[in-house]
Symmetry: C2
């Protein structure tokens, strides 16, 4: 398993509170949010992002009541969304977060000025 | 159409880069990300969030190649996720963003320290 090529995100980092997205940007952004729109995947992402070191899939699976193959499927979705990357070492696969992608999403949703409400 | 009761988000504002989510938190967070996991809804959200004033649904619909009822459905999903609120005035419904909810998501995805990679 090698490093994946990250999906290109069209345009970068303008918060939606400052500029409306173009249709192509919305397609790209929605695809990444879809990867986080599942409770298991969001929790997996949080476990990997908060670990502070690379995480063995063998240490992740016991946190969930679903099968190993199901966890592997969800990890693949996160990887294809560019949110994590991984490397096989011997028997196990190790995962780490891609902070740039999290920062991209965080910036997209940030609110720098009070909105009308 | 009156102000909705916002979904309660369990726990608040700890970035996933600092702490793993509990299962219930992941369920709540994933539900909000699901509202943004559609290109039309994400673009709608960006149009409302960036407008700087309340947005009439009549001004939003022409930006899209889908029907008015489809736009209304997507706006309802954003409203139920606590991302926008709205009020009917005469013929039209006006929408505005809920910045606290955007900030909650932005904080959740923020990365304060370099992660292992």
């Amino acid at each position: 398993m090698s490093k994946q090529e990250l999906p290109v995100l069209t345009g970068c980092c303008a918060p939606i509170s400052e500029a409306a997205l173009e249709p192509a940007q919305a397609v790209d952004g929605a695809a990444v949010f879809k990867a986080l729109a599942d409770p298991i995947r969001l929790r997996l992402m949080s476990i990997i992002a908060s670990a502070g070191e690379e995480v063995c899939v063998c240490d992740v699976t016991p946190h969930f009541d679903v099968s190993g193959p199901t966890i592997s499927h969800h990890l693949k979705v996160l990887r294809e969304a560019g949110l994590v990357d991984c490397e096989r070492r011997g028997t196990w696969v190790y995962y780490w977060p891609i902070p740039e992608r999290l920062t991209w999403l965080s910036t997209l949703l940030s609110v720098r000025t009070p909105a009308t409400a």
